[in-house]
């Protein structure tokens, strides 16, 4: 049962991954990637990471929803399929990725993997929480600082107007013009 589930999820994940670069529609490409992530999330649940599997699905579907907006914003396509080939060095890229796959799988099959040490906790989610709030508090704190820095940096890069445009130099006046962020 687990095997059937695993293999079908794997096929879905890889086929959806290939679909991303084959289809002629931005929206289809984006949501094919989302399907690939959902399949990997489900596989993570199969290998015991219930919480992280669910979080993967949560985060990646959200990201792909946002990704689709960017796709349309930059490329402005309609839902009908449009011929779309925006690639360079296609043959080289295929050669490199096939070589990498062969190398990786050779490694996977050749390395004598050690046998399992220890048994998983009854509730891996609780254990993860205790670990993050205990021994690995530093990781948690590091990640949160990086996240805040990302929010700030992302806004700085992407915004073309800030609160000075909206509220004037003294940050008090309210511009009435929608172009300047007023009219609200």
């Amino acid at each position: 049962m687990t095997d059937v589930l695993f293999w079908s999820l794997s096929v879905v994940a890889v086929v959806a991954g290939v679909t991303v670069f084959v289809v002629d529609s931005m929206a289809r490409a984006t949501y094919a990637l989302a399907v690939s992530f959902v399949a990997v999330g489900a596989t993570l649940v199969l290998v015991g990471s219930d919480y992280l599997g669910a979080v993967t699905v949560l985060m990646m579907v959200m990201e792909m929803a946002v990704m689709a907006v960017y796709m349309v914003m930059f490329m402005g396509m309609n839902p009908a399929l449009m011929p779309m080939s925006m690639v360079h060095d296609k043959r080289l890229a295929i050669a490199v990725s096939v070589a990498v796959f062969v190398l990786l799988s050779a490694g996977v099959l050749a390395v004598p993997w050690p046998s399992r040490r220890g048994v998983p906790a009854v509730d891996p989610t609780t254990e993860l929480g205790r670990d993050l709030m205990g021994d690995h508090m530093l990781v948690m704190m590091g990640v949160s600082v990086v996240m805040v820095a990302t929010i700030v940096a992302g806004l700085v890069l992407a915004l073309h107007r800030g609160r000075y445009q909206r509220f004037g130099d003294d940050l008090r006046t309210r511009s009435g013009h929608p172009r300047h962020g007023g009219g609200r």
């Binding site: 994940a13 993570l44 993967t56 930059f74 990725s97 796959f101 996977v108 906790a121 205790r130 990302t150």
Partner: protein, 100 residues
């Protein structure tokens, strides 16, 4: 389902993502390639954790990979917006110089 099979699937995902990241010209499509590569890493890390050493510490690594993914996306979108605003383009070939 053994460690090897899961790792093979992860390797396939990684290679497909690598193809995308290398061959695509559109910035957002390149990001999708990168995402797919990290997707493979995530699966591999999950497999290592479960089949080799299922202690809580291993899951922390998965969490860090997930965090790396979000950071990559957020910064990617920000840069894409910036490039698009300055050059009216989202193709990497039009952004070979850093000078505005």
């Amino acid at each position: 389902m053994t460690l090897q099979t899961v790792l093979l699937v992860a390797a396939a995902l990684f290679s497909v993502g690598l193809y995308g990241a290398l061959s695509q010209q559109v910035l957002v499509m390149i990001m999708m390639g990168l995402e797919l590569m990290i997707n493979g890493l995530l699966l591999a890390a999950g497999a290592f954790w479960w089949f080799l050493n299922p202690t809580p510490t291993g899951q922390v690594l998965l969490l860090v990979i997930l965090a790396a993914m979000t950071v990559e996306m957020a910064m990617g979108f920000a840069v894409a917006t910036l490039v698009h605003r300055h050059r009216r383009s989202d193709m990497t070939d039009d952004a070979t110089e850093l000078a505005g």
